[in-house]
Each structure stands twice: as C-alpha cells, then as structure tokens.
C-alpha cells in the first residue's frame, strides 16, 4: 500500500474518508462535502446512530451528489482528545474498513481539529502512520486466495492543507513503520524458514543501511564461554548464532551506546521438558524479542538517528534430541556463574544471560534493555494489554513507561528485588533456572538480574503482547512488533542528540 500526501482537493473517484467530531460536528472537509451534495452527510448522520464518537463509523455507498464510490464517515471523538494515538487509530480504522472494499485507491481527508494540540500536518502524518501500520498483511504463503479476498486498495492519499509539512513529519514515522514490518515478517515466518542462521542472515542484510553487523557462530561463542546459550541450542541440528548490530549515528562515534538485547529462540519445543502439542505452533514467535531488536535497529538506521546503539540477539532452536541438554545439567555462563537447568523449557533466560553479559562486557553501554517472550506467568499476570517491565533503575523505568504510553505500547512495572532472590537458589550450582513459589516472571527477572553489572537495566517480558489474538487499532491480528515503536520513542526522547 503506497501512501502519499496531497492538497485537500476533493477526489473525483475511489473511496473517501472524512472525520466527524463527537456530537456530529463536521470537520472542514466534511462541511464542504455536505454542501457539495446538498446536505447528504447531515441527513445521513441524523438518520443513524452515528454520533462521531471514537471508533464509530458510517459508510455511504455511491453518495448522491458526489462522484466518489464510497464515503466513510469516521468518528474522531472529542476534539481535545485527538492526539497522535487517536490520529493513528483513525488512519488504521479507515484502512481496516476499506482496504478490501473494492476500490483501488482511497483518500483520507485530514483537517485541523479544534482543541487538539497537534497541527493538521502532524495529524496527517500520524493518520498516515496508522493507515500504514494497519495495512500489514502476511500473505506470502497464500497461493489460492481469491482476488476478491485480497486487499483492493493500492494507493492511499492523505489530503491536508500543507502536504509538504506532513510529508516531512511522516518520514521518520515511515522509517519506524518499516522497522515494524520487518519485525512482523520475522515473527510471522515459520520455523522451517527462520532458524538461527537464516535469522542472522536477515540481520546481515541490514548492512546495506549502514549498520555494522557481525555474526558469531558456536565456535566463537564456545571461546567466549557462553555455556548457557550453547546448552539451549545443543539439541538442535541448527547451529546457534549471536548477531551483533551496531548503529553509530552520534556525533561522537566512540560514545557509549544504548544496548538492546533480544531473545531469539527460533522455535521452542521446550526441549526434553517437551511442551504439550496444543498451540505449540505459537512457539515460532519465541524469537519475538530478537525480531523487535532487529526491526528497531533497521528503524534507527533508516531515520539516521543521532545515537549510538547496539542490538544483540541470541539465536537458538530449542529441540529435544539425543544431544539435547537434560534437566539437572549444570552449565557455566560467560559470566562464570553456574546454572542448574531444572526445566529445559525455561531456556530464554539462559540465552539472555550470556547475551546480556557479552553486551555489557564488550560495549559498556549507557543502558541495556532486553526484550523476550520469556514467561507464561506474565500472560496470567498482566493479560494482553500490558507488557511486564522489570528495571533496576527508576529513571529508566519511568522513561520506558512514558514512551510506551505515548505510542500505545503499554508497560506495567513489576517487582525485581531481594524478597524473591531466594527462590532461585540451587542445591548444586550458583542458581537454578526456574523458581519455586509462584511469581514466575519475577523470578525469571531475578535470574537475569544476576547477569547485570552496574548498568541501568530494564527487561521487557513481552510474552503476552507479541502476538495479537484480535485486531487492534493499528495492529492486525498476528505479530504485533510490540516494542519497536516504544524503544524508538525512548531513543528519540532520551538518547538522541537534538
């Protein structure tokens, strides 16, 4: 779907979307349309239950007095509540309703909204972002889908008084959307296509954008003593990988970077502690954290962010086999600390332990943030509306929470402190990889904390939000890429030179 910006002239054909404010107040374009067609809009609104509330809509097909094929009246809600998120939801709503309606092109008219703190151009940019994000579709493996089931809209024009300004504001947002799409693609791909080496290849392909990408294989990781990560991958035929992506966009290329670490279990059978068959296919997206880190690095490079950033992803496949690790095995991590593997299905933290240690050791980052589809407990703890945030630093936690609220990727802080530490004491090693006594997400975070030095650190447990079970305002059902927009926002707000 191609998105462009144009002057607010009314289109002659295709679908047209206009906003209506709560209470039925027509936006400027809607008023012009109403006049042009002799009051059709006013009559239609009066004859329906449509009141312009957020998420309400009214579709007029072949409206009298107009040449467009379809006119969609979409509720904007109250003017003072029209912010970036509302604009994105508006753009997303337009695409959700019209993408497969039959038209090849659609236009979305964006007017200045009284009460909103954003200009019409800024609203237009966010409407465009919402439309783009909502248009995502992973259909490469559908070979027999009928034409009328596929999206018809090829072009979306966002109509606004100052298209040049809107286009400029949209450029960095489009970069983020490109990152989001890469992340969604990677998480959607099945595990016979995306495995450690092929995922590392995907990371390498980003070198074209100016990222430096290195990939470590098992031999190099063995030298570095990454026994925790390697233990997880040893059951698989596929070789484990560690990919390092660097973006040096700050004026001082040597300045300490911000680091992002992602869990990349390309498929998680659970290992010898095999998962039940029901829903095991979901485990193709157990590399969701790594996919976010890769998509984020792409977004930063595309928008030439003025920041030094490092992305590290630990890539393994967790398979049961004659070479797989067993419950009770003791492994030595790169930090030197030993771990008793009680449950081979608590493998994500083993991968992260070595990736986190390596990242701190090598890059001495200003802050380190990891993302992982880590625990089932976080799904019970917070449901699918929040990701779990664990942090050793209140300021970082506050910044992340604010960034999440700004982009609609909500975080909820969870505890990671001493009262829980005893739960991962092992009888034989320095720690064990699962805790007793509930709080499974907290004890997982406590485990990771043991691999953090003095660096400000945050851990995002995204197991409940990585795969959307239902359509959201800007996220179709499926891979959400939760975290890309949030971390891009964090970088922009807190770590980039202005």
């Amino acid at each position: 779907m191609k998105i462009s910006f144009a002057k607010s002239a009314l289109p002659a054909e295709g679908a047209l979307v206009v906003g209506i404010l709560e209470g039925g107040a027509l936006t400027a374009t809607a008023a012009r349309l109403d006049e042009a067609c002799g009051g059709t809009l006013t009559r239609a609104i009066a004859a329906s239950r449509f009141e312009g509330k957020k998420d309400q809509s009214l579709l007029l097909v072949a409206p009298a007095g107009l040449t467009v094929s379809r006119l969609l009246l979409l509720g904007l809600g109250k003017g003072e509540k029209v912010d970036a998120l509302a604009a994105e939801a508006f753009g997303g709503g337009a695409v959700a309703q019209l993408a497969a309606a039959g038209d090849a092109q659609m236009a979305i008219a964006v007017d200045a909204v009284e009460g909103s703190t954003l200009t019409a151009a800024a609203l237009a940019a966010h409407v465009a972002l919402g439309a783009r994000l909502r248009s995502y579709r992973f259909d490469k493996y559908r070979t027999t889908e009928k034409k009328d089931e596929k999206p018809s809209v090829k072009k979306v024009a966002v109509l606004v008084d100052d298209p040049a300004a809107a286009k400029k504001l949209y450029a960095p947002l489009e970069a983020v959307a490109d990152g989001v799409f890469l992340t969604r693609d990677l998480a959607s791909e099945p595990a016979n296509v995306i495995y450690p080496e092929s995922l590392a290849e995907q990371a390498k392909a980003l070198a074209d954008l100016g990222l430096e990408v290195e990939v470590l294989g098992e031999k190099q990781m063995k030298k570095l003593g990454m026994g925790a990560l390697l233990g997880v991958g040893q059951g698989s035929e596929r070789e484990s990988q560690l990919a390092v992506l660097r973006w040096s966009g700050a004026a001082d290329k040597e300045a300490a970077p911000i680091a992002f670490v992602g869990k990349g279990v390309t498929f998680d059978t659970g290992g010898i502690c095999l998962k039940p068959a029901a829903n095991m296919e979901d485990m193709k997206w157990d590399m969701g954290g790594a996919a976010v880190v890769i998509g984020l690095m792409k977004a930063l490079a595309l928008r030439k962010a003025k920041v030094n950033a490092v992305g590290v992803v630990g890539l393994v496949e967790n398979m049961p086999s004659g070479t797989a690790q067993r419950p009770g095995d003791v492994v030595t991590s790169a930090s030197g600390q030993t771990i008793e593997v009680i449950n081979t299905d608590a493998e994500g933290r083993l991968v992260l332990a070595d990736a986190l240690w390596y990242t701190q050791d090598r890059f001495k980052p200003r802050a380190i943030i990891d993302l992982a589809t880590l625990t089932g407990a976080i799904i019970v703890s917070l449901g699918s509306h929040y990701a779990g945030l664990f942090a050793n630093d209140d300021a970082l936690a506050g910044q992340l929470t604010a960034a999440g609220a700004a982009v609609g990727e909500k975080l909820w802080r969870m505890p990671v402190d001493d009262p829980y530490d005893k739960q991962i004491k092992s009888e034989i090693a320095d720690m064990k990889n699962v805790g007793e006594g509930g709080a499974g997400s907290v004890t997982a975070a406590m485990f990771l904390k043991r691999f953090i030095k003095d660096t400000p650190w945050a851990h995002l447990d995204i197991a409940g939000v990585t795969w959307a079970k239902k359509d959201g305002p800007v996220t179709p059902k499926g891979a959400s890429a939760f975290g890309v927009r949030l971390l891009d926002r964090l970088v922009a707000d807190q770590y980039e030179q202005k």
Binding site: S381, P419, K422
Partner: protein, 494 residues
C-alpha cells in the same frame, strides 16, 4: 500468647542471657562486661558463621549458664523494622533450645527494647494445641518468658502496650485461619466475634433471613449449597472524638471452606481451603487491634461469611443473580465465589456505613500468586494517593504490596451474553486477578476511594524454610493487620 514479656532495668538472673554483638564481632556494653567479654570473644573466634550481623543468633554454654550472642548489625541500620526481625530471629532460634527463661540485655533504648519484644511475640505463634489430644513432642517449645532489659522499663512497657495489642490481634487472626472448617463454621465465626464485645466493639449480624430481606443475593447464592447458612457481620469501633465522623471501612472475604462448589476443586488444591476466610480474619484482627489500643478513629469491619459447598441446593454455572446494588450477574465458575460475596458486601458497606474510604482483603485468586508469589500481595486501587499510602505502610511493616492494573481494558472479558456482567472469564491463562478486581469495582461507588488487596499468595507462608516471612513460620501470617493498623495510625488517627 506464646511467650510472656517483661521489661526490667537489669537482668533477672534467668538461666540464659542474650547480649548484643555488632559486625566485626564488636560486643555491646553488656556483652563486653568482665569475664563475659573474654568468654564471648573466645567462643566466637575462629571460623564461625556468626558475624554479628542482623539475624545471627549463637548460644554459648559458659560456666555461668547460657550466653546468647545476638547480631545487631551496624548502629545506623538499627531501625524498628530491624529490631523486630532480630527479636523474631531470637525467638525462632531459642524456641526449642531447652531454655525456658531468657534475659535479653542488648543495650537497647527503651523504645528499641519494645520493638525487639514485638518481634519476639509476633514470631511466637503456632497452631493451637486444642486440636490434639497429646501435644506433639517434636514441636514443643521451651522458651516461655523473656525479660527485656531497658534503661526505662516503664517507657518500654508503654511503647510495647500498643504493639502488643497488634501482636495479639495477629495471633487471633492466625488462630482463625488454621481453624478447621468443621470448627469454624459460618455461625461459629459469628460467635467468635463476641470476643470483641468487652473491648467496646459493636457487632451486628445479618443472618440469612436478613440478607434475603435486604437483597444480598450474591452472598446468599454462594452459601446456598451449604447446610450452614451464610451471614454478614458488621463490626464497629468508634474511637474518634466525633463518633458520627465517617468511618474507614474494611471488608473481608470469609469463605470458611471453599470446595469450589459445583465447579469442584481437585483434592490437592482443596486441602488449604479452610483458610479461604483469611481476608475476614484480617479484618477481625484489625478491629481487635484498634479496640485494644483504643485507636482514635472510627472504623467499620464487614465480614462476608459463607461456606461454598456442592449439593442439590448449590448454585450452578450460568445462574444469573441480582446483586445487592441491582447489577445482574452471571455466575460463570462457582469457584470464583469470593468476588460474589465481596461484591454484595462492598455495595452494602458503601451504602449502609457511608465510609470515607473502603478497603477489602481477600484470598481471591490463584492468578495473583502466579504474578507476585508469596512475597507481595496484589494492590488494586481507584485512588493513587490511597495506593501509595498503603504501599508505603506495607514496606514499613514488611507486608509488601505491589500495585496491579485496575482498568476498563478488561471489561470485554467480563461481558455476559445474558446479564449485565459475568463473574470471570473461562479463557485459558486469563489474568483472573485483574478481572476480579475490575469486577469488584462495579460494586463500589465511583467517588469513594477504594483499594482491594488480593492476599491469596501472602495469607499463608510457604513450607520452605527459606521462604519464611521473618515473623511467621510456615502457616498463616495474619497478612494486612500490621500494615492497615500502621496506615490508620499514620493517616487517619487524631
């Protein structure tokens, strides 16, 4: 109480003397005095685990009897919370040592001596022997009395009186939680409330007939399956100068036994369900504490008491019940019964007692234990200031809370196809504690500051020794009494 405490200006000459030692094995004055200092230095020298840190307790046999070295940590860190923990550790270590009477001469200030004693008595609780014919010799305690040495015994006694009131209430609440369900039936629970009469607490009981008349149908529905009818108890303590001032209200879930009802639990999960009245026990204990220490506050405690049994009369999944506030509720899982009894109790309390703030406690969901384990209770609040105050009081008392989302985002999960609201979702891995909290919010007036504490994980401490809370062995904790007592004292007492 498990151990009797006296304060004196000098050791009483008991068979054992506890003295304070700071890190680096620096003895306090009493510990260093005369021959004692030499003995102690010799005994603690070498490769002992005793470092003089908080929680270290080492009895040493000397020609003069037992000398017990007690680690005190650095003087700067010696706050009330640390002294309580030290007192608790001292009791835990000596309970079955053979010592019956201890002099504790730790060179503490008067109020510090009282805090140490508070820790001792909080830890000195165990399951009452009344359920045995023969006392279990393996669990018999020797330590009966502790004389705590204080520079001003009278000042220590005054300070301790307030703490002792709370400790006694905590012990009462724990007694209730361990009481078997054939001993603590709904009616027996109601009868126990008369213990509070002599303290000046007014007790009103709504029996099943009164509940029906007033329309507390959710509470009745939960109790339907049992031969023992449900009831609602309302305890009032008016300690404020203005007895008419709006009270602070506390509501407790009091399911004296929870089989799960028709949606019956499996056997393994059911064993602990005599403790499903932990919230009500805490509210009872809190009211007892307030009355004992003559707290200058108006408080109301409401206990929603029922037994959740399965029988031919029991409610069924799919039943629709009209709640006290008029909301029509579809009962989904009969084992999600706590929120039903609380819903009516909360709405009744808000309407009848007109409180200034409302706080409920309940062993409500397994999900909260999945989220926070046994180290923190889930805190849900409609009011940020209230949430912060409670969380701070919890940290200070080591009854820790963690705030969790109370939001309309989960309303979709509580939509019923037939009624206004359904009681829970059947979805696998649903955030049931968040659903429950949001469900309850429908029964609390929007402008009333309200907090809900889900204490399912914290009402009982774990079996694992390492998992023990400082003031509890494995078993009931009385969670919430100390925290709420502190909160009231700090925020609402004149």
């Amino acid at each position: 109480m498990g151990v009797s405490i006296t304060f004196a200006s000098a050791p009483s000459g008991a068979e054992a003397l506890a003295v304070g030692v700071r890190p680096g094995l620096a003895p306090c004055a009493t510990a260093a005095a005369g021959e004692r200092g030499r003995l102690l230095t010799r005994a603690l020298a070498g490769k002992h685990r005793f470092k003089g840190e908080e929680g270290d307790v080492r009895p040493v046999l000397t020609p003069d009897g037992w000398l017990v070295a007690v680690g005190l940590d650095e003087a700067d860190d010696q706050d009330a919370a640390a002294l309580r923990r030290i007192g608790a550790a001292l009791f835990a270590e000596l309970a079955d040592s053979g010592i019956t009477h201890l002099d504790a001469a730790l060179d503490l200030a008067a109020d510090e001596a009282a805090e140490l004693a508070y820790g001792l008595v909080l830890r000195a609780w165990r399951i009452p022997q009344r359920y045995r014919l023969h006392p279990d010799p393996d669990t018999e305690w020797s330590l009966e009395a502790v004389t705590v040495v204080s520079p001003d015994p009278e000042a220590s006694r005054r300070h301790f009186a307030r703490l002792e009131a709370v400790a006694a209430a905590v012990a009462q609440a724990r007694d209730l939680v361990v009481a078997p369900a054939n001993a603590l039936t709904p009616q027996a629970f109601a009868d126990r409330l008369s213990d509070l009469f002599p303290l000046g607490v007014a007790v009103e009981i709504l029996d099943a007939k009164a509940l029906a008349k007033q329309g507390l149908n959710l509470l009745l529905a939960v109790g339907r399956g049992s031969a023992r009818p449900p009831l609602l108890a309302c305890l009032r303590w008016n300690g404020a100068a203005d007895a008419e001032a709006p009270p602070i209200a506390f509501v407790g879930k009091g399911i004296t036994f929870d089989t799960g009802g028709v949606c019956v639990k499996d056997g393994e999960d059911m064993a602990e369900m005599k403790g499903d009245m932990g919230g009500a026990a805490t509210v009872f204990g809190l009211m007892a504490a307030l009355a004992r220490r003559r707290a200058k506050v108006n408080a109301v405690g409401v206990l929603a008491i029922a037994e959740n049994m399965l029988s031919g009369r029991a409610q069924r999944p799919g039943d629709v019940v009209r709640a006290y506030n008029g909301t029509m509720v579809e009962v989904v899982d009969t084992d999600a019964e706590g929120r039903l009894v609380l819903a009516d109790a909360l709405a009744w309390t808000a309407r009848t007692c007109r409180p200034a703030a409302l706080i409920d406690l309940a062993t409500l969901t397994g999900a909260v234990e999945t989220a926070l384990g046994k180290k923190r209770a889930g805190l849900f609040a409609s009011d940020d200031a209230l949430a912060e105050q409670l969380a701070a009081a919890g940290e200070a008392e080591e009854e820790r809370l963690w705030r969790l989302p109370l939001t309309d985002l989960y309303d979709e999960d509580l939509k019923s196809a037939v009624a206004d609201l359904r009681s829970c979702s059947w979805e696998d891995r649903a955030p049931d504690h968040l659903h429950a909290a949001r469900f309850l919010q429908h029964f609390v007036p929007g402008d009333l500051p309200w907090a809900h504490l889900d204490i399912a994980g914290t009402a009982e401490a774990g079996e694992d020794e390492d998992g023990d809370e400082p003031f509890t062995g494995p078993g009931p904790t009385g969670f919430g009494i100390r925290l709420l007592d502190r909160w009231l004292a700090e925020r609402h007492e004149e």
